[in-house]
Symmetry: C2
Subunit: 396 residues, 2 copies
């Protein structure tokens, strides 16, 4: 039969990345396309030990329904760590455990945005967030970025000209897909603009723990004294992405609404893995574990950059991230991105084309995203060679 | 600061049951209020064994991102079991793994219902579904039930008079909160009405495996030849509710839309527990395990019924379920339900007041829901005594 789908979901398309991810079953394809953590970063032995302890000590709690806000001890240990590490969370803030960082974004949009509202974003930006906003009937408006993050003049212009602006969505640290980090000054300015125009900032910080060089810059949320910033993060990049445990730290009033929406969404997040996360936060040297991941990613990023430096034609520009998972490359304007992607796929290299990350008003970014955490060293070297060959041929 | 919440979530209230659940920290309170499976039903030792095997055999798969539709082997084993046990699932149908049955309901509503549409429900019905519909901006219209399920004449009248009817939400087997089961004839009639008026049926079947007496009646989905029924179920009542693994079986076209919405909602369901469920479906005698749960609940239900039969005043009527988790009691019209609930709470017995389960047009059902799977035998006996004392005093 023919179906009539809802107004909000009718225009939604599957995420190009997820679709690429699905098609990567050919073991010969080198993928720079994923956003996956390295399997080397999973603390398997310790996780097994903690899982066994939960089965032995309190299986009836772990396997039973829990409360929607999350496992209370985990909410407390998450809040304590966010405060200690990043200065995040004030007296009126609380932590809600979500089913991955994605659910935090989705529920925040659901709670704050009505059909027809506008969400203002960095451009390019995370496709998962863009689709969440679209699925709530929101317009998305993109603001260009400088090398030190969003252009704040353009941001103010976008706010002033948007219809029903409601939310500013930002990934200030090791942004997806660009790998860029917003300067302290711009973070201050973004918060000022949000205040001036009565908007909420949704600060997405899944990569904040993954700095391997440069000076740490605190999240915007650390400067928030009035509950204007909703801070989303997760354990996906430091423990396991497959377990789907994330969190939101925000003002109690927003948290209460998020809780009601989460209740009707999935009742609560997998309780067993919430308890595992709590053990990692309280019975384990998580900082030492993260230090190892940082070192691994720093090494892999440096390898990819040195390969790019040595092999790519000079007309291609790319970012030099200080952390996170991604390098972004910009091609000269005359390049035909679609043809280049096709040719790369033919030679068995997958990258993510830039137009995936565009807002509703976006005009085709001729760039692409590369990930260095998932491919092996040999794959990084071989992949960059394929890329260089194709670009040299196509950018003549 | 003052927040302006979204149009759809502004009117949402926290679920009374979840709130009751949260307040049940007083160990002296006897709770007939939960919808929890008995902790005795959790196969802890086998789950630990399966978990260890996953940590040993394929941790990098289990802890990494998976695909949104769910772990492919689990999707296949779920579909095979649904077909074998309940005749559910045709050639054009597929199984999507969801984060509990609740997410299946929420995503189905999100995909099919636009703001202003009407969802037609049994009344009383599951509050989690009602709130999901409301969170998508839908009206809910309740249709009264007979002892053998929804009154189909009233259903047709409701369809004819509703504004933009889109979905019929039904829990045909061991309905929550009434414990009633819809007859075969009425299931046929519901499907006919859906077809006649061009509506989709959302069939929620979380308790279908829990029959402890009477003859099995196949789900409406088993008669669906054209993709008109979306079937939701879960492992919450047969393996573990805290792990949040459920599934939707529906036409591919709807499944594709659900997948896109799930992608922006939580990317995918906890992969580790999806793999555990697959092991329970393929390396374990799940039927034998469920037979034990059925026997346990049959015994507990019989105990509660015999206590009610012996102690309650004759003016109180209640259902005699053949499976599931709940007994529903109706009080005479003159009873003051609010006062009775207050008095029960004072004497440390929690039940769920009937008005919790009302649709938007509902007029105060003077009944209440009791659960027999969670309390111990001693608690069932003592709880019914408290109930009988209060009702005898209040229904004079």
């Amino acid at each position: 039969m023919e179906y009539v789908f809802s107004d909000n979901t009718e225009p939604l398309k599957p995420s190009a990345i997820r679709e690429i991810f699905k098609s990567l079953t050919d073991p010969d394809v080198i993928s720079f396309a994923a956003g996956n953590p390295s399997p080397e970063s999973f603390p398997v032995a310790d996780m097994k030990r903690f899982a066994d302890a939960i089965f032995d000590e309190c299986p009836s709690v772990a396997l039973q329904y829990g409360i929607t806000e999350g496992f209370t001890p985990l909410r407390e240990s998450v809040k304590a760590r966010a405060k200690r590490r990043f200065g995040v969370g004030g007296d009126n803030d609380t932590a809600i455990i979500t089913s991955g960082g994605q659910q935090g974004i989705d529920l925040t949009a659901k709670v704050l945005c009505s059909r027809g509202d506008t969400v203002i974003c960095e451009e390019p930006t995370f496709i998962g967030a863009l689709n969440a906003f679209r699925a709530h009937g929101c317009r998305t408006v993109g603001v260009p970025m400088d090398s030190d993050g969003i252009n704040t003049d353009a941001l103010e212009f976008a706010i002033k000209t948007a219809e029903n602006p409601k939310l500013i969505y930002l990934i200030p640290t090791f942004q997806n897909p660009t790998g860029k980090t917003m300067s302290k000054e711009k973070r201050v300015k973004c918060l000022e603009l949000a205040k001036k125009y009565g908007l909420i900032i949704l600060e997405d910080d899944p990569y904040g723990e993954l700095r391997f060089s440069g000076e740490s810059i605190l999240p915007i949320k650390s400067m928030d004294t009035e509950g204007r910033v909703v801070y989303c993060s997760s354990f996906s990049k430091i423990l396991s992405s497959g377990m789907r445990v994330g969190y939101v730290i925000c003002d109690n009033a927003i948290a209460n609404k998020i809780t009601v929406c989460k209740q009707v969404n999935d009742v609560h997040t997998n309780l067993f893995f919430q308890m595992i996360c709590h053990k990692f936060l309280t019975e384990y040297d998580l900082d030492a574990h993260i230090a190892k991941i940082r070192e691994l990613y720093g090494r892999k990023c440096a390898l990819m950059l040195s390969e790019l430096d040595g092999k790519l034609p000079g007309s291609v520009r790319y970012t030099r991230p200080e952390g996170g998972l991604f390098i972004w490359a910009d091609l000269p304007e005359y390049a035909d991105m679609k043809e280049i992607i096709k040719e790369l796929v033919k030679r068995k290299l997958a990258v993510v084309p830039g137009d995936t990350f565009l807002c509703d008003n976006g005009i085709g970014t001729g760039g692409f995203r590369m990930n260095y955490s998932t491919p092996s060293d040999a794959q990084i070297i071989k992949g960059v060679s394929i890329l260089a060959d194709v670009l040299k041929e196509r950018l003549k």
